[in-house]
Amino acid sequence: MSLLRTFQTGLRGIAAHRLRSILTTLGILFGVAAVIATVGIGQASTDSVNSRIASLGTNELTITGGSSVSAGVQGGAGSAATLTMADVTGLQDQVGAPDILAVAPENQTSSTIVNGSLNSTSTVQGSTAGWLTANSRSLSEGTFFTSSNVTKHSLVVVLGATTASTLGATVGSQVDIANTPFTVIGILTSTGSSGFTNQDDLAVIPISTDQDLLAGQGKVQRIVIASTSTTTIGSAYNEADQLLLQTHHITNPASADFTIVSQSSFLSTAQSVTATLTLLLASIAAISLLVGGIGVMNIMLVTVTERTGEIGLRKALGATPRDIRRQFLIEASTLSVVGGMMGVITAFVVGIVVPRVTTIGVDIRPAPVIVAVAVAAGVGLIFGVYPATRAAKLTPITALRSQ
């Protein structure tokens, strides 16, 4: 029997059991749609995480002090005061560290800022004039404090956009931090990105003033470095590492009393987290595709049992075992492929509807679509083999007797 005719016979077999065929394809449909949609959602969230992290600045490095060990308990990174203002000055060395553009120490505390009857509990950072460049930030109003403000322990403050609007403060306003009056000299441009902490709810003051009032004398929690460009971040990392090892007199890099973290390491961590989540969701979806495949096998077994008489008749009239096997394989794989195609359509509908009604993004790429359809066809073929072989093995006599 020619392949074309076997195909027509198979299709007629499907058409003769319409409801059953539709229900079988549903299993495959949902499996394929689930795979494509979850991978699409995973892709979209990966993209969004990437762009958010990129907006935090990928030419930034953060140095934290080594952790302290007190009474056998390992403290968190930065809990030991191993960083000093001397390190900040050292890192600003243009000869020893040509790829470092800007350096700024940061002491971070949470404090209540008061402006008359309004107050805001915000992050207060003590830093130097390099803060703006090191953090890739800019001002919307006023000026940033200078090195001389740091030297003079000036009571000046630069506010984040959110903090300024909460306090109703503008350039020239007087606000109280730790019961000390500060003059607002600048307002930061909003970053529009929340990141890990709210980048717009903060106040930056000279580190000298901060050490007097909040952090404690000589304290430097961390140092933020900006490399000259995103491509020089690797060499900037090495320069900072070498300089600090030298000035801290450490010969074995493994016992360094500081840690350097780059934004790009956050990026890769976040990427691997979303990749893992996508993989997890896709595996669950793949299992539903497998269940759909078992559904195909189930229905095909029922079909073979129910059509034993037909199989016997066809054999009596001259169908070879191969003809019968092919007919049922074609029926099984057609159900799967049709289910797969409808699954693709469903996934695209999901891809259009879901982003409109929710905040979840769906980004459908060609690769998962092709893979899902191919797997669906393969599943139909593999799960069709057993029922088809059973049909082919039926002897014409037992098959004819069954009616």
Binding site: M1, R314, A316, L317, T320, P321, R322, D323, I397, Q403
Partner: protein, 226 residues
């Protein structure tokens, strides 16, 4: 003897093994010349169904030799048997064995699907016309009477122009009027030169054949012409 269409020698068919072995056929020999009309009678359990399966190449004997038109059947594999059935034998069954999901002409077309044939619809419609169902081509089996259904089955048996038509209790499910119609049709087939084998338990049905055989307990006896 060399020209015989069917030549069965010492054919046995045993079902099961050891103590439970059933000898459905016990050293049966039968020769049928081309153009004969043979009836095989016998009560149920006599082995006539087994004989019909062997004759129709639906099954192979446990021992013995079967030559069909000079071809050795007992050594054939499933695919070869399927091909032989398709080319040379037309079947008519008691239960009609029509596919209810297909119209009459599609049912008649079935054996043509398993061989190289063009213009299958024209052939099917032509044969349906010859059995008097030219106006029922598109009807489904459920829309036809029992007699009409059996005529569709006869058309299906004839569409491949077989050497032999094997009818297994063709009137078993029909009223007497339809039965007469079907038997007349078999007589006509024989008259037109075709070999017909009729399996039945009913002597009055067997009477239409020109030669009668009787199966009993796995043995075949030639009935003396009345």
């Amino acid at each position: 003897m060399a020209g015989a269409l069917v030549d069965i020698r010492d054919v046995s068919k045993v079902y099961g093994m050891g103590d439970v072995a059933v000898h459905a056929l016990d050293k049966v020999s039968l020769t049928i010349e081309a153009g004969e009309f043979v009836a095989v009678m016998g009560p149920s359990g006599s082995g006539k169904s087994t004989l019909m399966h062997i004759l129709g190449c639906l099954d192979v004997p446990t021992s013995g030799q079967y030559l069909f038109a000079g071809e050795r059947v007992e050594t054939m594999g499933e695919a070869q048997l399927a091909d032989l059935r398709n080319r040379r034998i037309g079947f008519v069954f008691q239960q009609f064995q029509l596919l209810n999901s297909l119209p009459a002409w599609r049912n008649v077309e079935l054996p043509l699907l398993y061989r190289t044939a063009t213009d299958r619809r024209a052939m099917a419609v032509d044969v349906l016309g010859r059995v008097g169902l030219g106006d029922r081509v598109e009807h489904r089996p459920t829309e036809l009477s029992g007699g009409q259904q059996q005529r569709v089955a006869i058309a299906r048996a004839l569409v491949t122009n077989p050497d032999m038509v094997l009818a297994d209790e063709p009137t078993g499910n029909l009223d007497s009027a339809s039965s007469r119609e079907i038997l007349e049709m078999l007589v006509e087939l024989h008259a037109s030169g075709r070999t017909v084998i009729l399996i039945t338990h009913d002597p009055s049905v067997a009477a239409v054949a020109s030669r009668q055989c009787v199966m009993r307990d796995g043995h075949l006896y030639e009935a003396v012409a009345a």
